[in-house]
Amino acid sequence: MKRFFSVALGILTAIGGFVDIGDIVANAETGARFGIAHAWVLLVGVVGICVYAEMSGRVTAVSGRPVFDLVRERLGPRMALANLAGSVLVTVLTLGAELGGVGLALQLATSVGYLLWVPVVAVVLWAALWRAKFSVLENVFGLTGLALIVFVVAFLHLGPDPGQLWQQAAHPGPPQGEDWGTYWFFAIALFASALTPYEVFFFSSGAVEERWTARDLITSRINVFVGFPLGGLLAFALMLTSATVFHPLAMSVDSLSQVAMPAVLALGELGLAAALLGFFAATFGAAMETGLSAGYTVAQYFGWSWGKLRRPREAARFHTVVLGSIVAGVAILMTTIDPIQLTEYTLIFSAVALPLTYLPILVVANDRGYLGNRVNGRTANALGIIYLIVIVAAAVAAVPLMATTRMGAG
């Protein structure tokens, strides 16, 4: 019974923890401008993160070591350094965007400007990462993130036109007034939002924190193959509500208040409360994950003692990197860059850095020295290679599309 509850809790946490500021922004923006013509991209992205998260979970559960540790050992310090540089840069930018998202959620709840909230949120985040147990952090924010189910309920209340939505989903492409360049630009942003690099590093390092062994492989797979797709459904609900409310008005979405509006229109103050709680939990939870991920990757690369299983004094350099990342995230926001814009940039840079993250995972997951007979099977390799090709194509196209479409402005 205890094991059942543990698995159920893992699934719920995976669902609630799937959505972050990137998913919120990318899904709401694409829903408003393109309807659900990008639904297939979300599906492709969710399957992709499942494929690679399963690999990294398996690598960690079998070897007892986090993926990044093995990447350095298997591919050498140079390749791992490229991986480290790309992923840490994107992770710190993402951390800044998540902190901004928390600030914006609090601004919507209190009308106090988000920039005033950011330093407060940063201190609370640091204190939480310093003091609280890993499982408490993961479970509390993962479960609270389930409040985003309000967008599923709101979608049903809004009385959508199923025929219209099906038409959009079945005929992918730009609607009138948009062009293929912006369509693909947003496709890449949406794809990158599902496959953000920090997610696999957090998943794999978290497995070490929770002392997974080969016996936990089934738990890992259930979390990935049940929790992530259901989490993807929450992201899809954001796209659906945005497509239902904003797309018919031919308007775009560029603020968090707009993202919350469908829930307010459908369910009033209750919907607003749930949406804000969901935004807060999703962004604060992701801020914790990105802060820890920055510490994990740097500490694992340099071979330092790391993790929340150890006392802070025993992993001082790890905690210093975490603190430094939080300070860097706050500094980025203090330039007064709009957090939504920061998120958009982060998604594009994330797309560029994706191959650096996912190629090494595929290599390590095929190494019998670490995994014995638990190396990738044919299906995992076929999917892994197909996704790697898609990831490389997205990485190559991201910056040219960003320039030619002026960040999707058209």
Binding site: L108, V245, S255, S257, V264, G268, L272
Partner: protein, 153 residues
């Protein structure tokens, strides 16, 4: 390749990129650039009008907290101000551009007035009236955008 050569290649690429950027940014405004700006301004103003309209409807229906509607109005105001700043920052390059400007400017002025009326609305009836006005402005901005994109000017 030796490190010094690699560095030289990277530096050359950076210089070419920077020079390209400088040429791009210092190019004199032409009608195409102005046309693009006008469309972006109209789209920004249209989004602001729709957001303000929805917020006014939410406020009139007492469906959200004052903090939320205030923040949503602020977001719409910021979007409108951004569009107006962009509009004011670029002069029309010729007669065709001036015609575009003269069609868009009254719509922006009308939206500013309607937005102001909504912000200082004292009761639900005034909010609803303001929302209707914003809806009308948004529709006209949408027609303007469609006309400009399909007709050229």
């Amino acid at each position: 390749m030796r490190t010094s050569r690699k560095l030289a290649v990277v530096a050359a690429v950076a210089v070419v990129f920077w020079a390209g950027l400088a040429v791009q940014l210092s190019r004199a405004d032409d009608f195409r650039a102005y046309h693009r700006t006008v469309v972006q301004v109209a789209q920004g103003a249209h989004d602001a009008a729709q957001t303000a309209k929805l917020t006014a409807q939410i406020k009139a229906g007492h469906r959200a907290t004052a903090a939320f509607t205030q923040a949503a109005f602020d977001d719409a105001a910021k979007a409108l101000a951004g569009a107006q700043k962009q509009f004011a920052g670029q002069a029309p390059p010729g007669e065709r551009g001036a015609r575009l400007r003269d069609r868009l400017a009254p719509l922006l002025a009308r939206e500013t007035t309607a937005f102001g009326d909504v912000l200082r609305a004292g009761d639900d009836a005034a909010l609803r009236a303001g929302a209707r006005e914003l809806d009308d402005v948004a529709r006209q901005l949408n027609d303007f955008i469609t006309g400009v994109l399909t007709g050229g000017n």
